[in-house]
């Protein structure tokens, strides 16, 4: 029985009048209390999570504590937290959506032991606000009252601690009820969690920064920035087209001056603006930080500015480069921020000398973020000196209009500057990747497979699943030495003469129950992260390398798709989806499969499965296998041809090759001539993904996860077209097919690098492939440009991608729906799925960035401490692939490095090359043309660099204390680099990245060993790290494709 109350609110209208509003408020006797101690669990009708029963007390934070110390309440060590609805609403109303969403996620997260109690809807807990009572007092009173009720509701069996910042409340309520303690938050942490040092430090740091802020607001200097407009004005302005909404992207290379706003949503359609909007200077940026969703106002046309195309270094101040910018582009200023995307930032404290120069206020310190795009942050701490040599994590608290820099607080220490582990940790934090080892609770959910207690197929599963162990010849084709196999294939002839093709994927969802601890962890990670020297798995190794790996000769659970194909035309007649049990008969590697396909049977000695057989059965089995591989290849060719016929293109193969050569580690995996078997396996996987996408979409049109690849914007191809023209090629970018064809034709027989560069430019012009929820998009937008399929999803690698796990569950639900069985567990609604897709896309991007950054880190470490003048490897051949006003961008094929080389140095001297083609710096001027740049010295000498010219560059490392080190290139000759020994020149193999990594880690190791005088053999570990990244070529191709489609708009100051 509900009770009705009325709440009277006084609101202010837009015109400023007060408005009396009466709202109903219904109270109910039973509100879920989510406590295991609840005396009437039936009445309270708990659903969702309960508080754990092994806590000594419950803690109820006051509204102020929730607002200010949410970060501390997020510590997983703090258990039994009850958030009162009153407090949550206070966060929602006063702290904005971002903080509120953080709180909501915390409440949803099953790993955190905290719940929400809807006290305002409970008839005994609700207290109407009294006349003249301030909101703050009322909130505290309500929370205390609810705490007392909760205590009695649990029959006084669990003491409750209410933590508050309100001294009066502590006085007033402290000893009012036995069993309900009211203490301050600091007191609580000191007494109950004396071991939790990190939390206490964080608490101090927050407290201090808050005090500073209070002081500051009292001082109130002159305004540094204009105030932001109120939200209603912004929204109205966006609607009317006066303002434009977009995401702020700071130019990494001119972080002080240039930022661009990428248009977002509907606003771009209405206005005729095609390009981004330039935000020039910090003042116009008005306190927004890279990644924020901002609202901008366009400036009048006569104030528009052009972007700078000169190369420049980050630390150099902007005055030096006042030279001719390009034509003016739309320029604007930020008038408001819709959504702040502040995250944790890695910063470096200034060194001692710098601190002194900063002057008077020693407690306030300006720290420099690792990311160039983030402004300096003001921190108040006493530990500045102790933290000098460390990379430190900070958070931004606020940025008042009176302050030049944002205020922040110190969170934790990562590691020493320049220390490998510290730098890797930096990369992880900067990409918001958190990888802690799997916890005990998570590992407890895992099945056991030890020699004493081997894992077996359970009889129930045997009944439920289709048993393919005897009926089908299942085999896998993977790179040599691969341990984790998540896809297998089968093909056979049916009784009616038709063929049956099967793709069998590891059944990860059988082991990972929805919303189990391991599932939540995997969802948070979303993908396996590969850094240059290590990887962070999405699932524990018991699953990824053992029970979910479809190894040869053992029984494994799988999810299978089987198509019945016409015997001659290979038309798909029927398709079957379902759970199966398989036993893979052969674990082939690519080369062996290709040999078998080519009819070269001598390879069988390399296949372990054939070794112990007698001649006769061996022959029979071999024939069977050869037939299967042959048939499979036939089918794949046919499917491929059909896809090509539908206007498909061979783009992904193309992209892969580009990236393959740049990312050297792949070079040793892929033979020079790609084998047809690769394509066969890839095609089968694409077919499986495509059919699964179709199936789940048909069953649940509005809530399935698919993958789209939007067609690229034509204007992004202009650079590619121009570059190709310089070499005399024409690139037709109108459709994916013409693009692929013209790229194939654009091949300079004398210089294979040209084609590679053109292809990499083409891939850079394209947008990312993304996951999305079908409810959020029109059906026409589902298209996958790269694969030319109308629907596509990821299904075939559930071990290392969470999206595939979601798709597996959807497929299972679709099968149950078809069989009129009830669907186990809840599917994600469209809204949740959209959020999940955003998260996974985000994580994938982070994974790509971290991989790239870690590679760069290793490159720098490789070249560091080498004297560039003497070391042979620091001088190399480079190709110019882009021209800027004061320099050129150079690609070094040997190391796969791209970088800028200046033709004009800081003193204004330009490069000149004498008769021996050695370069020198001399006074002179530069002249830039469309595809060449000429440097003329005052004494009349001139040298011209064309696009795709080969030059000799010297590689050195530019060290930086606050940021990552960068590679510097210097042109030392305008002739291609010749190694003195001509014999070597031809054979000089590209340096493999894995070797580079090995070398760097080794030297780091040695340094450590020298310090600690302790012999650790970690070599083996490196071997482990340097293993294959994906298990099959297909997964690898997919990965590379993702990489290739990476957004590189912010590279090199363009």
């Amino acid at each position: 029985m509900l009770q009705k109350r009325e709440k009277v609110l006084l609101l202010r209208t837009f015109q400023g009048r007060t408005l009396r509003i009466v709202r109903e408020h219904y109270l109910r006797p039973c509100v879920p209390c989510h406590s295991p101690l609840c005396p009437q669990p039936a009445a309270c009708s708990h659903d969702g999570k309960l508080l754990s029963s092994d806590v000594t007390h419950y803690v109820i934070p006051d509204w102020k504590v929730v607002q200010d110390y949410l970060e501390i309440l997020e510590f997983p060590e703090l258990k039994g937290i009850i958030f009162m609805q009153t407090a949550c609403q206070a966060v929602q109303h006063q702290r904005g959506r971002r903080q509120y969403n953080k709180l909501r996620n915390l409440l949803k997260d099953a790993r955190h032991d905290c719940i929400l109690f809807a006290n305002e809807f409970q008839q005994c807990c609700y207290l109407p606000r009294e006349r003249g009572e301030s909101t703050e007092k009322w909130q505290t009173r309500s929370i205390y009252n609810a705490a007392v009720w909760y205590y009695h509701h649990c029959q006084d069996r669990m003491p409750i601690v209410m933590v508050t910042e309100d001294e009066e409340a502590i006085q007033q309520y402290g000893s009012e009820t036995e069993g309900v303690f009211v203490i301050s938050f600091k007191n609580y942490l000191d007494n109950f969690w004396p071991d939790l040092k990190a939390a206490r430090e964080l608490c101090d740091s927050i407290l201090q920064s808050r005090r500073e802020r209070e002081n500051e607001s009292q001082e109130s200097h002159g305004k540094e920035y204009p105030e932001h407009l109120p939200l209603e004005v912004l929204e109205a302005g966006i609607k009317s087209g006066r303002y434009i909404q977009g995401i702020l992207n700071v130019n990494k290379h001119r972080a002080q001056m240039e930022a661009f706003v990428r248009l977002q949503g509907a606003s771009s359609k209405d206005s005729d603006l095609v390009s981004d909007i330039l935000i020039h200077g910090m003042k116009a940026r008005n306190r927004s930080i890279h990644g924020d969703v901002v609202v901008v106002e366009l400036l009048p046309k006569n104030e528009w500015k052009g972007r700078t195309t000169a190369l420049c270094e980050n630390d150099s101040d902007d005055k030096a480069w006042g030279e001719s910018p390009t034509e003016p582009m739309p320029t604007g200023r930020v008038v408001g921020i819709l959504q702040k995307n502040w995250r944790d930032y890695v910063v470096t404290f200034p060194s001692k000398e710098e601190v002194q120069s900063q002057g008077k206020n020693a407690q306030k310190i300006l720290v420099t973020p690792w990311d160039y795009r983030i402004p300096k942050i003001r921190i108040s701490t006493q530990q500045a000196e102790a933290l000098q040599d460390f990379r430190v994590v900070v958070r931004i608290d606020s940025w008042e209009s009176t302050s030049v820099y944002p205020n922040g607080h110190f969170v934790r220490v990562l590691g020493r500057i320049r220390d490998l582990e510290g730098e890797i940790a930096t990369i992880l934090v900067e990409n918001s990747i958190s990888v802690v080892p799997f916890s005990e609770a998570q590992m407890c959910e895992m099945p056991v497979n030890t020699p004493e207690n081997p894992w077996k197929v359970s009889p129930e599963e045997e009944r439920e699943r289709k048993d393919l162990r005897r009926s089908h010849l299942v085999f896998s084709i993977d790179p040599k030495g691969c341990e984790d196999v998540d896809d297998t294939l089968s093909v056979r002839t049916l009784h009616n003469g038709n063929l049956e093709l099967g793709v069998h994927i590891a059944d990860v969802t059988h082991f990972v129950a929805p919303n189990s601890y391991i599932d939540i962890e995997a969802r948070t990670r979303a993908t396996t992260y590969y850094l240059a020297d290590r990887r962070y798995d999405m699932l524990p190794s018991i699953l990824s390398a053992d029970l979910c790996s479809l190894l040869g000769g053992v029984d494994r659970y799988a999810v299978s798709i089987m198509w019945e194909l016409d015997k001659t035309s290979y038309e798909i007649k029927k398709v079957w989806y379902g759970r199966t049990i398989i036993r893979s008969a052969y674990k082939l590697f690519y080369e062996a499969a290709q040999e078998l396909l080519d009819g070269n049977l001598s390879i069988i000695d390399d296949i372990p499965e054939f070794r112990d057989l007698d001649e006769k059965s061996r022959q029979a089995k071999l024939e069977e296998l050869v037939w299967a591989i042959g048939k499979l290849t036939d089918i794949a060719r046919h499917v491929r041809a059909k896809r090509d016929g539908c206007g498909a293109l061979e783009l992904e193969g193309v992209e892969v090759r580009v990236q393959l050569d740049e990312k050297k580690n792949i070079h040793d995996l892929i033979p020079k001539q790609p084998l047809e078997v690769h394509e066969t396996v890839a095609e089968c996987m694409i077919l499986a993904n495509h059919w699964v996408a179709k199936k789940i979409w048909e069953s649940f049109p509005h809530q399935v996860l698919l993958r789209q690849h939007p067609p690229p914007h034509q204007e992004f191809f202009s650079e590619l077209r121009e570059c190709a023209k310089a070499k005399g090629f024409f690139i037709d970018t109108r459709s994916n097919k013409t693009l692929a064809d013209s790229l194939d034709n654009a091949n300079d027989p004398n210089d294979p690098v040209v084609n590679r560069l053109l292809r990499s430019m083409a891939t850079q012009a394209m947008s990312n492939a993304l996951y999305f929820s079908t409810g959020a998009c029109k059906e026409e937008e589902f298209h996958h440009y790269g694969l030319a399929l109308d629907k596509y999803t990821h299904f075939t690698s559930p071990i290392r991608r969470y999206s595939d796990i979601v798709v597996h569950r959807l497929l299972m639900a679709a099968i149950s729906k078809e069989n009129k069985m009830e669907i186990k567990g809840n599917l994600f609604s469209n809204k949740d799925l959209e959020e999940l897709c955003r998260h996974i896309n985000n994580r994938n991007r982070a994974a790509q960035h971290s991989q790239k950054q870690s590679t760069e880190l290793f490159q720098c470490m490789y070249f560091k401490d080498k004297d560039p003048d003497t070391e042979e490897r620091c001088v190399s051949d480079g190709v110019i692939y882009s021209i800027r006003t004061n320099g050129v961008l150079v690609f070094i094929p040997r190391f796969g490095i791209k970088g800028a080389a200046y033709l004009k140095n800081k003193d204004g001297l330009v490069i000149s090359c004498g008769s021996d083609s050695r370069s020198e710096w001399k006074p002179g001027s530069l002249q830039r043309f469309q595809n060449k740049i000429t440097s003329t010295t005052t004494d009349g000498e001139s040298v011209t660099f064309h696009l795709f010219d080969h030059v000799t560059v010297r590689i050195s490392v530019q060290a930086s204390r606050c940021h990552s080190d960068t590679i510097r290139l210097e042109i030392i000759s305008n002739k291609p680099y010749k190694i003195p020994n001509t014999e070597l020149f031809h054979q000089s193999p590209p340096l493999l990245k894995s070797e580079l990594v090995k070398e760097v880690t080794k030297s780091v190791e040695e340094a450590q060993l020298a310090q600690e005088v302790k012999v650790d053999i970690i070599q083996e570990e490196y071997q482990e790290y340097c293993q294959t990244k994906g298990r099959s070529l297909y997964t690898l191709l997919e990965e590379i494709k993702d990489l290739a489609l990476l957004d590189v708009s912010n590279s090199y100051g363009i």
Partner: protein
């Protein structure tokens, strides 16, 4: 803070109801002695008064008279003090005219007009306080007033609104929920047969969700019916068997309403009652 959270993660709406629960309904019949029939209803904070005259001869131009059935004339007005900011004029604006037409359509579908050819039935509805779901409140009030006037009807007409937020259908929207701008559906139902007298929606809603919202509105209208039925019974035959309406169950119904045999009580049933199938 932008946008109110209409449905919290825990499943509560802004005012503490759950998705399918109605607001509190209180009603009285026969509030004016002068009119042929009258009723007053409160649905939450929405308050409406309905008055019925007729059937009587056509007033004004005789040409309007229909040869085969009665003319239903509906007029809607809302008091100037009914909304948060005072209104200029109580009736005659576009919205009132539209509402009058909708009411007329609804009641033409429900009243057995062919029993009174060449005559007229006037229904006047006034909203005293508007807090969302005014159409539903008007229909429910008018139903009670028509019943009070003893005009034969096919069945009660029960109306309720429903909205759609985050994939969940919400029954009986309040003003706050309406103002948020989501889709809103108004449904008038003849509860015994489940026939729809009027269905109206003027926002975009995906076809696939319509069924869910319609289902919620229909369920809510059925719940309204149980309440109105009790109001009528209590009005005609006040009895201590029925608990006071003020504490009547709403939203989640318990079906333990005592059923009384009409004949045993020697009860005079007005003719409209005899036609409702559930009484036979």
């Amino acid at each position: 803070m932008a946008g109110l959270e209409l449905l919290s993660d825990q499943g509560y709406r802004v005012d503490g109801r759950r998705a399918g629960e109605l607001r509190k309904i209180q009603a009285r019949m026969g509030v004016f002695a002068q009119a042929d029939g009258s009723a007053y209803i409160e649905q939450g904070n929405t308050k409406a008064l309905a008055v019925v005259y007729g059937p009587h001869e056509i007033r004004g131009s005789r040409a309007r008279a229909l040869p085969d059935r009665a003319l239903v004339n509906c007029q809607y007005s809302s008091a100037t003090f009914s909304t948060g900011e005072r209104k200029r004029r109580p009736h005659g604006d576009r919205k009132s005219c539209e509402m009058g037409l909708q009411l007329r359509q609804t009641f033409e579908a429900a009243i057995l007009t062919q029993l009174h050819p060449r005559s007229q039935i006037d229904i006047y509805v006034q909203v005293l306080q508007a807090d969302g779901g005014t159409y539903a409140a008007c229909v429910n009030a008018a139903t009670l007033a028509v019943l009070d006037a003893g005009i034969p009807m096919r069945d009660f007409v029960c109306a309720c609104s429903a909205g759609f937020v985050d994939g969940t259908a919400l029954a009986d929207l309040s003003h706050v929920e309406e103002a948020a701008g989501g889709p809103q559906l108004a449904l008038a139902l003849l509860p015994a047969s489940g026939q729809i007298a009027l269905l109206e929606m003027d926002a975009r809603l995906h076809e696939d969700h319509l069924e869910q919202v319609l289902e919620a509105a229909a369920q809510a209208a059925q719940d309204v019916h149980i309440l109105l039925d009790r109001v009528v019974r209590q009005h005609i035959w006040p009895s201590p068997d029925y608990p006071l309406l003020q504490s009547g169950p709403w939203g989640c119904f318990s079906p333990n309403i005592p059923r009384v045999s009409w004949h045993r009580q020697g009860w005079y049933a007005p003719h409209f009652m005899l036609r409702t199938p559930q009484l036979q």
